[in-house]
């Protein structure tokens, strides 16, 4: 995986002058304090970013244990590399990309899930191009995502998606990243992101329909 933030050795532990041109003054100062190994700076970064990195990792890996490991590795990497931070992206963006790549690698390396077979969403039509099976609306009562049962069903459906589909759904629809950013992270073209995302959404809609559709009349 390529990280689209570059690093250079800055030497004396002071913020690279380049930081001040690209980062906000407050963030450049924060990075400078991290380079100086100030505890308060580390605690500030943890407060601001640890929950986000953990949730990102959890959504990609589907495992609390793996997400904790990814979160830990991401912040350890930050401490190891902070002296080389050049600041072409914000610290939050850099952490996010490292976390994403670590989580993707973790998911691939564990390979603990047997991926379910998914029907091609485009196969659900007759030769004439009509829907092959009736399409029903969903029960309004189950659509409150604050209900634990609904959230559990949605999380499980995302986790069961094939890897290619799951990654784009997590990054685009759960994490709100742009198509361009996803293309860079996954090293695929923007049109490929769009096409994969649409197929993933169709597959997920079909999966959720089995849980949420109104009963047959």
């Amino acid at each position: 995986m390529i990280l689209h933030v570059s690093w250079t050795i800055s030497g004396d532990g002071k913020p690279n002058p380049h930081l001040e041109a690209t980062l906000s003054e407050a963030e450049a100062a924060l990075v400078g304090r991290l380079v100086e190994r100030e505890e308060s700076a580390l605690l500030e970064v943890l407060t601001d970013h640890q929950s986000r990195i953990f949730n990102l990792a959890l959504r990609i890996t589907g495992s609390v244990e793996d997400a904790e490991e990814v979160t830990q590795d991401t912040f350890l990497r930050m401490l190891d590399k902070v002296q080389q931070f050049e600041g072409r992206a914000s610290l939050g963006t850099w952490l996010y990309r490292v976390g994403t790549n670590q989580a993707l690698m973790k998911r691939r390396s564990t390979g603990r899930r047997q991926e379910q077979s998914w029907d091609d969403p485009m196969a659900a039509f007759t030769e004439d191009g009509l829907h092959a099976t009736p399409i029903r609306k969903w029960r309004g009562s189950v659509l409150d995502i604050q209900k634990e049962e609904t959230a559990r069903i949605v999380r499980q459906a995302v986790d069961d998606l094939p890897e290619d589909y799951r990654n784009v759904i997590v990054l685009a629809d759960l994490e709100g990243r742009s198509r361009q950013e996803i293309a860079e992270i996954l090293e695929i073209s923007v049109p490929a992101v769009k096409s994969r995302l649409h197929r993933a959404r169709l597959a997920l809609r079909t999966k959720l329909a089995a849980e949420f559709e109104e009963a047959k009349e």
């Binding site: 190994r37 505890e39 580390l42 605690l43 943890l46 640890q50 929950s51 953990f54 949730n55 959890l58 609390v64 904790e68 979160t71 830990q72 912040f75 350890l76 401490l79 969403p121 485009m122 039509f125 007759t126 004439d128 191009g129 009509l130 829907h131 009736p134 399409i135 029903r136 609306k137 969903w138 659509l143 995502i145 604050q146 609904t150 959230a151 949605v154 999380r155 995302v158 759904i169 629809d173 759960l174 709100g176 769009k194 995302l197 649409h198 959404r201 169709l202 997920l204 809609r205 959720l208 329909a209 949420f212």
Partner: protein, 107 residues
């Protein structure tokens, strides 16, 4: 019972009429199939279709209750994903991480 039979007959007739119309131009509008509608739903919602394509989809949706339900549940899928709550980190892990990093910082 009779009303249900009549409803089902009408529905079958409507499906046949729609299948006939797919691929034809009616009143200047290119009629598209349910499959074609589902292929471009994302672009339709993102406003990335041409005016003519948009008219085709809108005309289809006006006639096809199944595609209206499909669009509504596709939107609902996106809405559920966008509102999925975060999972809180365990206090034990959070404290352990903080201690590990503070320890690393001082070495």
């Amino acid at each position: 019972m009779r009303a249900r039979q009549e409803y089902n007959t009408m529905k079958r007739m409507m499906r046949r009429m729609m299948a006939w119309a797919f691929g034809r131009k009616i009143m200047g509008i290119q009629m598209v199939s349910c499959r074609e509608v589902s292929q471009v739903l994302q672009d339709y919602l993102d406003g990335e279709l041409s005016r003519a394509e948009r008219r085709s989809i809108t005309a289809h949706l006006a006639l096809c209750s199944e595609c209206r339900a499909f669009l509504s549940t596709y939107r609902e899928t996106l809405s559920l994903l966008g509102r999925l709550p975060s999972t809180p980190m365990s206090r034990k892990f959070s404290e352990g991480l903080e201690n590990l990093l503070l320890d690393r910082l001082s070495h």
